[in-house]
Symmetry: C2
Subunit: 421 residues, 2 copies
């Protein structure tokens, strides 16, 4: 049987050894060129593959689907076809570009294939609702130690449910979008009344987000054992945070303007199918969770996560190395929890993990933790130091699962922080 995920699988499209996009990946995104309207695409190596053009050339004729979904500025309609269709599309792409199959005629190549550096990658989905969870025990513990009681860092509910809150969908943008430092109310130490100021404590949060592929009815719940059927794939997610704005505003109703000035995702959605070989067991959950949250088997994913900070006119420094597998709460638990009360979901909803910190100091997924609340310097390769993000710094996030020679990557999430407007 043909095995897409096998390391033996190869494409007739050239793929560099360290590419995020071997033929085992087959990510989904949306692109445009100077000549064309937005269309859905995938990528092998440095080649963008126009899915609408593939359909026009009859390559999806054997799949029962409405291929007009590819002529779209978002993946929502494609995802809504369900896994019975989207998995077949992935398999067909893997076959078409397999090195044992013939290359396309030149005319077709010119219609279907584009060099990656000649296209513009767009925001791949229209985000319906966006939830941000808080599912890393290391992150929650670090924050609890810094701001509450070091001896009782986790709040009583934390190990019983995947704590989460609703975030802003409108300001989720694609990698490459520059973000202005937000202004707002902050309460500097020792001052009685808040002042109006650009944020002085700009931070990133290293997260991943999963995306749902269909709707449910209001009142229905998704059983935890079926939850992954509703999940199309993952994106890499930078939840930019203004710590000083957040600190002053967030009691009692949670984060608001400290978060909603911009969140940045990778241009590619990586399917659960591509990540199958990288499944690992999550941490043991003690105390035992309630039955509606109980999962078995490998529900976490071994995905390496990296954050680089690049000062203006300098080179990037690696400042964080973490991994998706550290998450305490898995995606099936998150989606089951989100819907246990009857909350309905839609295709294109985004569910972020919360900051993914690991157990070691170099694996903390935010500058708040890396600088331990601004008490320690973060050292960069060029001799500079940071506690939080400075104007014109660029944050670069990378995510990849690696299995011998096969690297399933997400594409970088690149965000430059511009001065306040």
């Amino acid at each position: 049987m043909f095995e897409i995920n096998s390391p033996l699988n190869n494409s007739w499209i050239p793929v560099a050894v360290d590419s995020d996009f071997p033929i085992q990946n087959i990510p989904f995104g949306v692109f445009k060129t100077q000549r064309s309207e937005p269309r859905c695409c995938t990528r092998i190596g440095d080649t963008i593959i126009d899915l609408a053009a593939l359909a026009e050339n009859g390559y999806f004729d054997d799949i029962e689907m409405d291929s007009s979904v590819f002529y779209s500025s978002t993946l929502n309609d494609f995802m809504s076809c369900g896994k019975s269709v989207t998995s077949k599309v992935r398999e067909q792409i893997a076959l078409l570009f397999n090195s044992q199959n013939p290359e396309f005629p030149n005319q077709q190549k010119s219609e279907i294939l584009y060099p990656a550096d000649e296209v513009l990658m767009l925001m791949p989905i229209t985000v319906g609702d966006y939830t941000d969870f808080y599912s890393s025990i290391e992150h929650a513990t670090n924050v609890g130690k810094m701001f509450r009681d070091p001896e009782n860092a986790l709040l009583p509910n934390w190990k019983h449910l995947p704590v989460g809150y609703h975030g802003r969908s409108s300001s989720i943008v694609v990698s490459g979008t520059d973000i202005h430092r937000p202004k707002g109310q902050i309460l500097p130490a020792g001052v009685e009344n808040p002042i109006f100021s650009p944020s002085r404590l700009m931070d990133f949060e290293l997260e991943m987000a999963f995306i749902t592929n269909r709707s449910t009815e209001l009142g229905d719940s998704i059983p935890v054992e079926n939850a992954e059927e509703y999940i199309f794939g993952f994106t890499l997610f930078n939840d930019l945070s203004a710590r000083d704005i957040q600190k002053w505003e967030y009691v009692p109703l949670g984060p608001f303007l400290g978060k909603n000035f911009g969140s940045v995702i990778s241009p590619w959605i990586i399917t659960l199918e591509a990540l199958e070989p990288f499944r690992v067991e999550g941490p043991v959950q003690v105390p035992e969770v309630l039955p509606y949250l109980k999962t078995t088997g490998k529900r976490n994913f071994d995905i390496n996560l990296e954050v680089y900070l690049q000062p203006e006119d300098s080179s990037p420094s690696l400042i964080c190395q973490s991994n998706h597998k550290y998450l305490y709460w898995n995606i099936a638990q998150q989606l089951a929890h989100q819907t246990i009360n009857g909350c309905n979901i839609n295709s294109g909803d985004m569910y972020a993990s919360g900051t993914i910190s690991g157990p070691t100091e170099n694996s903390f997924g935010s500058m708040l933790e890396l600088s331990w609340g601004g008490k320690k310097d973060i050292h960069l390769a060029d001799g500079q130091t940071r506690k939080f993000i400075q104007d014109n710094d660029t944050i670069i996030m990378k995510a990849y699962a690696q299995n011998g020679s096969v690297r399933i990557g997400f594409g970088d999430v690149i965000t430059k922080i511009l001065p306040a407007k």
Copy 2:
């Protein structure tokens, strides 16, 4: 000059004295019939007016607009035309149906007019993002007294900024939608670990919400003095709340499953233009707010608010009488605050007020407050009592501004709470 809002204005469509919909109102909504697809509409008295059919008959020909916006299952595109268009549409409707103008020929009447009891009113907008503010000082004080310190009921940030949080858009539904009692984790008193249970403390929150009519760019802020230009109108809003689920989950990131199982709005959006005669000054704000939040003039609205609880097989009892004018933070301040950090908005975003409680015990806008945390009985006309909502109770909310003989109403928000699924 023709004055829509004048009490002397009358329609050739019959309007009962206590109707929510005199010709001064001209609300906007979306309806369908057994024969027709969803279309935008307005209402005078008990008559639904099909705006697409009005356009087909040439009645909007003098307005420069794309009248295809009326052939839609939502008002979003119509609202996005901006006030220069939507105000003209309102004025034209007021002229067409004015009693000094001739009635339509019968053929046109049959194409354009429908008895209200023969149509189905639909969810009038596609909600992009939804924010819930917390802008009633009486409500915030009551909650603070019950759960925190009676002597310092308000948190330090409350008088400096309109506290708010992001809510769930997918579960906002139109009046008449029944909602199942949510299930989830609760921590009953004296118990160490949470249990899984239907909520035992089901509540409503009496709110109003404003709706935006256009988009801004990420990074831009809306100045407080221009904010009302971005606001199309108001809807009446029931923010259903499961107090026990909320209490266990909400620290530290805010309300989540205690709120997102269903929020219910009126089928009609009432324009700011219709509410002009009902402007009043809001409470004096001390301490002085920061410059980006400073407003002058009449920014609140004198809108009477009522909540009725109707047990199954019984009649409704009035249990709350409040008023929009009590709100401490006004809508211009809310929208300026939402965007001060560069957060972008879209047409169809919804911004709810938070529970609107007044100064007297009968004006508290939630059962949490009316029963003072479950300590007092709420007495119903049929001799029953309630502390929170029971299964098969129906909550009915009404909102109307009254000016002598003219009543600008919102249409009821009717929500029956069904047993947990």
